[in-house]
């Protein structure tokens, strides 16, 4: 398949791995964070870490949109889903995210009309078909997903649909990166930038990272060779003492992003003063809410929501995993009490979550390495 097979070529992968190893300075340890959960998934699925020198450590970042949703927001969603005459819609992974008292899929089992959709446009279609019901869409995701919510709201407004609303949890990528860079827990050398978010926002938003923090950023695609090439580009920058934003995913990501999508986001959304991120706490101006022009479609204004903050279970260490402070297998409940079938934390829910990705792909290799078999 075009643009898949050539990015999974084993010979090229080994060649890149050799070049990366050659760039690693003896005695130096490199910490590179892949921001996006899609990259984490590829790293584990294709065993990228096995091709790297031990001194090049990949740290998994907070770029899984499901993983960063705090439990209180899940409880708010469940409260909305249980209202009479409501059809509650969300993406598939959100169904299983645990709140303080169950998940949306539990609410569905108890009789709430909760449906999963692939696109916000599906939710709009459900609203058109069910004029006697209130249809609420739980919007999550970074700038990749926010444009589809924005377009859906623009269509709903143009049609004058009064039975459609959105509970908005869209987040933005730059503020958590700033929070990580300011975190005393974590010392990073470079970032692998998110590919599909950058399709929308472009590469310019990351320029503050080399400018203010002196760290390279390479925006990367999602195939194994994309990631290896990005790590090579980072190692080359570090070796040459450079710190720049580079675009490895140029076949998809324009440097300036999608200006029309950015205009649409500006029209439909505005920044929240602050928003709680699971594991990272409250980060100012890190999430979106509906703008005044679209306030009529804001589910949190149309309906009462509890808005109660819920602390994560004590045993759960998603916060440390999301900040890259610990590896998934270092969490006390990883693979025992917390599995993809019975997740305690969000990182075990989505296939992009570091814990789920590691549980599904990485644990066998680690187990093999430990036993030497």
């Amino acid at each position: 398949m075009k643009f898949v097979d050539e990015f999974r070529d084993g010979d090229l992968a080994r060649s890149l791995a050799t070049q990366i190893a050659a760039l690693a300075e003896p005695g130096r340890h490199y910490k590179v964070m892949e921001v996006c959960g899609g990259h984490t998934h590829t790293i584990y699925k294709h065993g990228i870490e096995d091709h790297l020198p031990e001194t090049v450590e990949l740290v998994h970042g907070p770029g899984c949109p499901v993983c960063v949703i705090p439990m209180g927001r899940v409880d708010d969603a469940i409260a909305l889903a249980k209202l009479p005459d409501v059809i509650f819609t969300c993406f598939g992974d959100m169904m299983r995210v645990p709140g303080g008292d169950g998940s949306l899929i539990d609410a569905k089992a108890e009789g709430a009309d909760v449906r999963f959709v692939y696109s916000p446009l599906d939710a709009l279609k459900i609203a058109r078909k069910n004029p006697d019901k209130q249809v609420i869409f739980l919007a999550i995701g970074f700038e990749t997903t926010a444009p589809s919510t924005a377009l859906t709201l623009m269509r709903a407004k143009a049609e004058g649909l009064e039975n459609f609303s959105v509970m908005c949890n869209h987040v933005t990528i730059v503020p958590p990166l700033k929070a990580l860079l300011e975190s005393p827990d974590l010392r990073l050398d470079a970032f692998i930038g998110p590919g599909h978010v950058s399709t929308v926002v472009g590469c310019r938003p990351y320029e503050f990272i080399p400018a203010q923090y002196g760290q390279p950023v390479v925006v990367a695609g999602f195939e194994p060779l994309d990631l290896l090439q990005s790590i090579y580009m980072i190692m080359k920058q570090l070796g040459e003492g450079r710190a720049e934003v580079e675009n490895q995913y140029g076949r998809v990501v324009p440097w300036e992003g999608n200006m029309r999508a950015l205009d649409v986001l500006d029209e439909v959304f505005e920044l929240r003063p602050f928003f709680e991120w699971r594991g990272l706490g409250f980060i100012s101006q890190s999430a979106l809410k509906l703008s005044d022009a679209y306030a009529d479609f804001d589910a949190e204004l149309r309906f009462d929501v509890p808005g109660v903050r819920v602390a994560d279970p004590k045993a759960c260490q998603c916060g440390e995993v999301l900040k890259g402070v610990i590896k998934p297998w270092e969490c006390k409940v990883f693979g025992t009490a917390c599995t993809p079938e019975t997740p305690i934390g969000t990182c075990m829910v989505s296939s992009e979550g570091a814990c789920a990705a590691y549980y599904n792909f990485g644990r066998f290799a680690r187990s093999k390495a430990r036993t030497g078999s």
Binding site: P65, F91, G92, D93, L121, V253
Partner: protein, 85 residues
């Protein structure tokens, strides 16, 4: 090219792409390359590389023409791709 006619699906039939068992494409920030089969606004009929065909919102990359390659996330095209991508 498959000998079978493309499977015609609408958004709601796309549930295979967003399941609680296999994980959700949209949650995972996965974007899917498609080819425009029939250009129209605001939705164009597009076909993915697995011969699945459905409606895609194309306002953010308009105007589109038959044969254009687009990158789709959550039912909406967010970027144009090179012709052979």
């Amino acid at each position: 090219m498959s000998a079978n006619p493309p499977l015609q699906v609408d958004h709601e039939s796309y549930e295979y792409a967003c399941t609680v068992v296999d994980g959700c494409l949209t949650c995972g920030d996965v974007a899917v390359p498609v080819t425009v089969v029939e250009a129209s606004q605001p939705d164009a009929i597009c076909r993915d590389d697995h011969d699945q065909q459905g409606l895609v919102g194309v306002e953010l990359v308009a105007p589109v023409s038959k044969g254009d390659r687009l990158l789709v996330h959550g039912g909406v095209a967010i970027a144009r791709l090179e012709a052979n991508a």
